[in-house]
């Protein structure tokens, strides 16, 4: 299930800057993992050539460190369960992937904005409130009513 902490988070396991954290912690096999390959294709429109090379239609052949901050954060969420990542590094186009990852395992993230999780129903726990919401209306109202952001 997806668990979200909204607003400012202070925790030893919280990673504010997943972009830099990724550069210094990723494993080669994370990149060639099929779900990473799909996420890189969907978000960055890029192909994984190998664990060290990405083919970007915009930037040419790039190292893994030049992937977008959003897709790096998604790969971290999928592979590193020890940390809570700042999902504000992800745009709305990452939302469906966050839900997919959270379908496989408990995933805790931090958000500072109202990410659009789409119109389908979902189960998201708002950790600040200890409350589970099931659609974007409940999510928006719970977050804003309680001035979490």
């Amino acid at each position: 299930m997806l668990k979200i902490y909204y607003g400012d988070l202070e925790s030893n396991s919280y990673i504010f800057n997943p972009d830099i954290f990724f550069n210094n912690s990723y494993e080669d096999e994370w990149i060639t993992d099929p779900i990473s390959v799909q996420m890189i294709k969907d978000i960055d429109k890029s192909d994984v050539i190998g664990p060290k090379v990405i083919d970007s239609p915009f930037l040419g052949s790039i190292p893994v460190e030049r992937l977008s901050g959003g897709v790096k954060t998604l790969i971290l969420m999928n592979n590193d369960s020890e940390h809570i990542f700042n999902a504000s590094a992800c745009g709305d186009n990452c939302a469906k992937w966050i839900l997919k990852i959270a379908n496989k395992k408990d995933l805790t993230i931090r958000l500072g904005y109202l990410m659009d999780f789409g119109t389908d129903d979902f189960d998201i726990e708002i950790l600040n409130l200890g409350k589970i919401v099931h659609n974007r209306r409940e999510l928006a109202e719970s977050v804003l009513d309680n001035h979490l952001i």
Binding site: F16, G91, E141, L144
Partner: protein
């Protein structure tokens, strides 16, 4: 700093076109739209100049501010356009907001989170989009990115007959709008409370009037809420109530002050254009019958002729014939 600046940044693979005209510009949007790459190019150019292979065309110096010694660096910068990525941890700090106030630099900030301490405009929140497919670019094998406005609040499509009018203003602005909308009009008592008023209303149709020049930190979540709930609420976001008065031809205002405000609203003195318009109105009505004060509306602004003049410059969709 005053002025409007076109910025062109490119290497052999990507090409950015941006225009900044206020002290604070916000970049948001989807992942992989090129925001971080833009900042990387500016940083590499700054470090290596022409030998970077990057070209920056701008009348002002473009620079990147990072977490490293940011207070010291910011203190030393002047007449520059400062780009800050979302990885900067100081963006929400009071110290940063204090340093932006009175700064003679412009700031271009990448942040999806609201920066509540900075009064940026709804007009200056942009995304980046790939425009390579447009005919003027499609002969080149390059990616062309330009800014696009995320919120177009000026387009009110259908006639609105609001059961409730919420004004962000609690003083002069509220007094004026009450003249137009009568008992339907309520003050939210501040921009952060506009959501609460909309949320708690059971009226079928709501009009919320906010000062667009400083409503930037709140507009994203409000629009998301309206989209998620389908609540019928129209957001009217003129720069400010004072801007409407200046535009309504009640006092003589040089056209350029309103059309090229960026050449007048010095970031040294004014944190937002809202502050500039208020100051301009106060200064220019001091010894006139239209002496303006923010706390209480001068009775002369409630004269039918004056009300009509201001109504004339508001979108007709929100001015009912009954008003």
């Amino acid at each position: 700093m005053v002025g409007k600046y076109d910025i062109e940044i490119y290497n052999n693979k990507v090409h950015y076109f941006l225009t900044v005209k206020r002290n604070i510009t916000i970049l948001q949007g989807d992942s992989a739209s090129g925001k971080t790459e833009l900042i990387r190019l500016i940083g590499e150019y700054e470090a290596n100049g022409n030998s970077s292979g990057i070209t920056i065309k701008c009348d002002k110096k473009c620079t990147v501010l990072t977490n490293v010694d940011w207070v010291l660096r910011l203190s030393s910068l002047s007449q520059s356009i400062i780009f800050i990525d979302e990885t900067a941890s100081f963006l929400k700090e009071t110290k940063f907001a204090e340093m932006v106030r009175g700064s003679d630099n412009y700031f271009v900030i990448v942040s999806r989170d609201d920066l509540a301490l900075l009064p940026y405009s709804v007009e200056e929140i942009y995304g980046l989009r790939d425009v390579s497919g447009l005919s003027k670019y499609n002969t080149y094998k390059k990616v062309y990115n330009e800014m696009y406005k995320l919120y177009n609040l000026s387009d009110v499509c259908n006639k609105v007959n609001p059961g409730l009018v919420i004004t962000e203003d609690s003083n002069s602005g509220y007094e004026f709008y009450k003249q137009i909308y009568g008992g339907n009009c309520e003050s939210a008592g501040g921009k952060s409370k506009v959501y609460d008023r909309i949320r708690n209303s059971n009226k079928e149709s709501i009009l919320a009037i906010v000062d667009g020049a400083a409503f930037g930190p709140d507009v994203g979540k409000l629009m998301r809420y309206l989209s998620a709930t389908g609540k019928k609420c129209v957001l009217f976001a003129p720069e400010s109530f004072e801007y409407l008065i200046l535009k309504a031809d009640i006092i003589d205002v040089p056209k350029a002050v309103l059309e090229e405000t960026y050449n007048y609203a010095d970031s040294n003195k004014f944190l937002s254009w809202e502050e500039f318009y208020t100051d301009f109105l106060v200064q220019n009505t001091q010894r006139t019958v239209f002496r303006y004060g923010k706390a209480k509306l001068n009775e002369n602004y409630k004269a039918p002729k004056i009300i009509d003049k201001i109504k004339n410059i508001m979108p007709e969709q929100i001015i009912s014939s009954r008003n």
